[in-house]
């Protein structure tokens, strides 16, 4: 993995990202703005499931209001994230936080897609004969917000792998 990271870091695309001083801060800034959009969109959906926000609107309306923003911002986030990895592959690939982040990210995206589908269809997520969501659906929405929170924390922790993970750090 380290050899691959070193090869990638020596590539011309990586060199361009590294050598132009404003590219990495620009990409990171866009990445952070998109975190705001993704996190707040998923928070709005979760708060609606919990019955704490926009209860005057049907769930479908809230989903249609925020889900497109969430998915679009996720795509931009993935794009800027990929470029950041391309720019500093050794920094990312040798950080334990990066790999756990990727794992949680995959889990977050998959479960949001599946969960969103279940919420929209309304099957098995509503209390029978009521518009209210079941306890399981509510727990899942809290879990997803917690998952996104962990992803953000791990993202920042990439810069401090040894300090955060100590002996577990992948830093040589």
């Amino acid at each position: 993995m380290h050899a691959f990271a070193a090869w990638l870091q020596a590539s011309s695309a990586s060199n361009t990202i590294q050598s132009v001083s404003w590219v990495i801060p620009l990409l990171q800034s866009i990445h952070i703005l998109m975190i705001g959009v993704v996190f707040v969109s998923s928070l709005m959906i979760a708060l609606r499931v919990l019955g704490l926000m926009r209860v005057d609107q049907p769930f479908e309306a809230v989903w249609h209001r925020f889900a497109p923003w969430m998915w679009s911002a996720l795509i931009v986030m993935a794009g800027t994230g990929l470029l950041l990895v391309l720019g500093e592959p050794i920094r990312e690939f040798t950080a334990l936080s990066f790999w756990i982040k990727m794992l949680l990210l995959a889990a977050g995206v998959t479960s949001t897609a599946l969960y969103g589908h279940a919420l929209k269809s309304g099957v098995r997520v509503r209390v029978r004969g009521s518009a209210e969501f079941s306890a399981g659906a509510k727990a899942m929405s809290i879990l997803l917000v917690a998952l996104w929170l962990s992803v953000v924390f791990l993202g920042r922790a990439i810069a401090y792998d040894r300090e955060v993970w100590g002996a577990l750090s992948l830093h040589a």
Binding site: I32, L33, G36, M53, R54
Partner: protein, 161 residues
């Protein structure tokens, strides 16, 4: 805090997350002020719902930010990106104050299903630009401030272990 290797990443992560939440929630209000996605939801309701989250997140970001500043006050103070960020924050505050004191007073006339007046649209657009600038400038600080390793005068350091 400089000497605690674990404090910085935690405080920074909280700061990033809280700042992203401030941006995300205020963005929803700004969009509504621009009449987006539509004018069906009352401006007063959108403001009431979002701004409590915005203020909560802002308070958290402020606390974490103050801790970060305290750990490296001298270098932050002299950093241009930091100064510009503070200016942008001040601008966002003034913009919000003017909006609430002047434009928002006759909100009843354009609260729902009505075109948003130009002054409110302008306030929304200004807020968007300023908050995006705050995030960009904030990220720039990390790439320009360097670190202050100087030992404060009159500090006694015992090198005997």
């Amino acid at each position: 805090m400089r000497t605690s290797v674990k404090a910085m990443p935690i405080v920074e992560a909280i700061h990033v997350l809280a700042a992203a939440t401030v941006f995300g929630t205020i963005f929803i209000v700004d969009l509504r002020l621009l009449g987006l996605p539509d004018t069906r939801r009352p401006v007063t309701v959108v403001c009431r719902e979002m701004l409590r989250l915005t203020w909560g997140a802002f308070f958290v970001a402020l606390c974490a930010g103050l801790l970060m500043f305290a750990a490296n006050a001298h270098t932050y103070y002299g950093n241009t990106a930091f100064r510009l960020k503070m200016l942008a924050l001040l601008g966002a505050g003034v913009n919000m104050l003017l909006f609430h004191r002047l434009t928002f007073r006759n909100v009843a006339a354009w609260d729902q299903n009505a075109p948003v007046p130009m002054a409110a649209r302008l306030a929304g657009a200004t807020s968007m630009i300023l908050w995006v600038s705050v995030i960009f400038l904030a990220r720039w600080i990390g790439f320009t401030k360097g670190y202050d390793f100087r030992i404060p005068p009159n500090t006694h350091i015992n090198f005997q272990f």
